[in-house]
């Protein structure tokens, strides 16, 4: 007898539908899975067999063939277990399988028949809606995430024994409740950053315009502290963005669903593939995990050159395309880059009498740093140890009030560039439409002439100046805004 169920397999950050056909025939007892399964899928045979027997179903001692269509798509992971088991039960006429038509299933089976969570539940629920399913049946733990998907019913089951309920005509499981998406107030607050007015200003500008920021300073000067508090001044995610972030987090299994902006801080030994995504089939990397959030690279100079080179394209386009022999996939990667570096290899800085670095190694370090920066970073801010007065002084301004100004500035940007877009991604034509005061233009020409500015960094300075003006709620970029931007930008030769 033949039965058919629907499930999903993950590719990149989206789920592709898979038809699971199970056929039971007379013949020597065997269980074959065909249709480009990977090892995890092939091993499903053993899990399905044990799970069915241990929940009291009968495992047919006949020739069983399962086909996963489309046959040219590689099926990965254990998420197909539940669909295989259900198809087998339906083909063996142990449950009325036709009642499940229009429903998709995904879940990993344990040997005792319980259903374990899978990665990418939200992506699967969305895919279920797209391919016209009425609903999807998922493991209990995936319910809150998957139920965020609009326009599709999500039911969750704890064990495959619940499939017996089909005999009485009920779709098994309980209706899932969407995750509660209040922003937690446990986010580290910027008021912990005492003193450092210049760093605070840089963070505000970077957060408002989405500009990449590099902090240079000795260890212990508060670079990491500031970076970890960066997300707290970014505007809250809109519902669309929350879905994007939750989809990625679900596919990568990188944590529970929240309304917070992601903050990723990969170690400097990360490979290029680990940073931007890679492998075959392509898997998302750190930059995709930090989509709509912050990617923090501490010790920027220690990152490998290929890894930093790979950041170039995503920083420009907000997405990354990974091409491999077996195909290509485009993953979202609109993140704000925040980086930190020591001023010299020993970390003290050349001006410090305790610095023991020979000039050659400092020069080499600088060369690495400037190589790492070229074309990637708009703003550089020097961070120094706050003085004892600042440390003993009062707390800094809270994130909440900084965030209000950032939101205000972003609203102005959205009016000009379109919803959700920030100055950092403004293209040439949009920059050409910025209103710029004559005096500001003059200053820009002077800066270009005094070789402080290469032609290439021209656009960057204008984007930055636009953000400074937006924070000032000025429709026109005035001379003081441009000068302020010039002070924040990265310098040639550094």
């Amino acid at each position: 007898m033949l039965a058919e169920t629907t499930s999903f397999t993950l590719a990149g950050i989206s789920a592709s539908p898979v038809r699971v056909e199970v056929d039971i025939h007379r013949g020597l007892p065997s269980f074959q899975i065909v249709g480009l399964p990977d090892t995890a899928v092939r091993e499903a045979r053993e899990r399905v067999r044990a799970a069915l027997v241990n929940t009291g179903f009968e495992f047919p001692m006949r020739r069983i063939t399962a086909n996963l269509a489309p046959a040219d798509l590689r099926k990965v992971g254990p998420g197909l277990d539940l669909a295989l088991a259900t198809g087998l039960l339906a083909a063996g006429a142990e449950i009325p399988g036709e009642k499940l038509s229009g429903w998709a299933l995904a879940g990993e089976l344990a040997l005792d028949g319980s259903v374990r969570p899978v990665r990418g539940a939200l992506a699967m629920a969305e895919a279920a809606r797209k391919c016209g399913c009425r609903g999807i049946i998922l493991p209990e733990a995936n319910g809150p995430e998957a139920a965020l998907a609009p326009g599709v019913e999500v039911r969750t089951i704890a064990t495959i024994a619940e499939l017996r309920g089909l005999e009485s005509g009920r779709i098994p499981g309980r209706r899932a409740v969407p995750a509660d998406l209040v922003e937690s107030s446990g986010l580290s607050d910027l008021r912990d950053l005492r003193g450092q007015p210049n760093l605070r200003r840089a963070i505000e500008v970077a957060a408002a315009g989405g500009h990449a920021l590099l902090m240079i300073g000795p260890p212990g000067s508060g670079k990491s502290l500031a970076a970890r508090r960066f997300p707290s001044v970014l505007p809250p995610l809109c519902s669309e963005e929350i879905l994007e972030v939750a989809r990625i987090a679900g596919v990568c299994g990188s944590g529970p669903v929240t309304a917070e902006r992601p903050f990723r801080a990969p170690h400097h030994t990360v490979s290029a593939a680990g940073l931007v995504g890679g492998g075959s089939p392509p898997r998302p990397g750190e930059i995709t995990l930090s989509h709509r959030g912050v990617l923090f690279l501490d010790e920027l100079c220690e990152f490998s050159r290929p890894a930093l080179e790979a950041l170039r394209e995503p920083l420009e386009s907000g997405e990354v395309t990974i091409s491999r022999a077996k195909g290509r996939s485009t993953l979202p990667a609109a993140f704000t880059l925040v980086a930190a570096a020591n001023p010299c290899p020993c970390g003290r800085g050349e001006e410090d009498p305790g610095c023991v670095c020979p000039p050659v190694s400092t020069a080499r370090y600088r060369a690495t740093l400037s190589g790492a920066l070229a074309d990637r970073i708009d703003m550089i801010v020097a961070v120094s140890q706050p003085g004892p007065e600042a440390m003993a002084g009062e707390e800094g301004e809270a994130s909440e009030s900084v965030r209000e100004r950032v939101v205000q500035a972003r609203n102005l940007m959205a009016e000009r560039l379109g919803p959700g877009r920030v100055n950092a991604v403004a293209d040439r034509a949009e920059i050409a439409r910025f209103e710029i005061e004559t005096d500001a233009r003059k200053l820009l020409v002077q800066a270009g002439r005094s070789q402080q500015l290469s032609g290439r960094s021209h656009d960057r300075v204008l984007r930055l100046a636009r953000t400074v003006a937006d924070l000032d709620e000025s429709p026109v970029v005035l001379e003081q805004h441009l000068a302020g931007a010039l002070q924040l930008r990265r310098r040639n030769g550094t």
Binding site: Q196, P197, R201, E351, S384, A483, Q487
Partner: protein, 383 residues
Amino acid sequence: MSMVATGAEGACAECLRRSWLISRLGPFIQVACDDRAGRRTPELLRLEDHELVSAVAPRKVDALLSENSALDEGQLRQTLEQAGCWALCRHDDGFPEGLDDGADAPVCIIGCGDGFHLEQVTMGGSVTVVGARRATGYGLEVARMLGAELAGAGLTVISGLALGIDGAVHRGAVERGRTVAVLAGGPDRPYPATHARLYRRVRESGLVISELPPGTRPWRWGFPARNRIMAALSRMTVVVEAARRSGSLITAEMAADAGREVGAVPGPVTAGPSAGTNELIAGGAALVRDGADVFDRLAGVGFSFPQKLFGPEICDSDIPVLEAVEGGLSLIDSISPAAGRSLAETAASLARLEIAGYVTCSMTGEYGRTGLASAATYDPPGD
């Protein structure tokens, strides 16, 4: 000024052979002068051929000497020509006067570069500016400014192309006037390698000289030997920044021994990188704050040094910020309250001042004053 380099005709065969002999003895001298400072090198190089070889390679005296005397003059001249070098020995009228009077002066100078002729480098018309390789932003800025001011005033600026201060001196001088780099190895070998681009610029518009033939690698003993040439060439040697045991102090010592003027740029008394220069001043060296101080020493007080360089006009709101930087504040977080302006205003002022050339900003965000004078804050020396 003729742009044609002097050929190898400026040196006699004997002096050329002497050059090649020292080059050949490189590894032997390295062993003989194994003290780190290499102060003995100049004394060694004072010896005649035979004594020199017996001192450093007593077991190979005959072999080395006969090998040296067998060198074919035509061959040597061809080697020079192929490397684009010229040579000048003490028997030539054009040999620099500064190198003529010392007992330990080199007999032959080999050089390259198209800027001008070595004959044009007079002792009174040149000044040597040196300093440590490990330099602070302050030292580099003063070095660059001195190089630019002195070269701009028509003096020949001599330095050693080393990392740190020396490089900054050449950078300042190379665009404004004449500069001479004295190398520890052959003049055709850029050393240090990181200054290869600067080497090319100096070679194009100035001179690169050495007492060693082309192709000679820089031995450790070559540096004190090179220092004695730098000290001897000019009437005054200025040390910009040197810690207590810096090699630049040896250059100053050599200059003093050769009867030349010594000057030093002062630094904070608490600063290690300026300890050596402060000590020089305490010991009687001329205090050098700018090009005018050097000129006063060379030509007598009151000699009209070309006017100070004034930058463009600045707006009133930038003045307190410039004054704060002149006052020694380097971080924007401390400049802003001292100038009594908001952080955003201070940032804008700093950007304007940097574009106008009054301040520089290091990669680590420290602002410093440049040598460019501003009409708004300039306080002429009272007299």
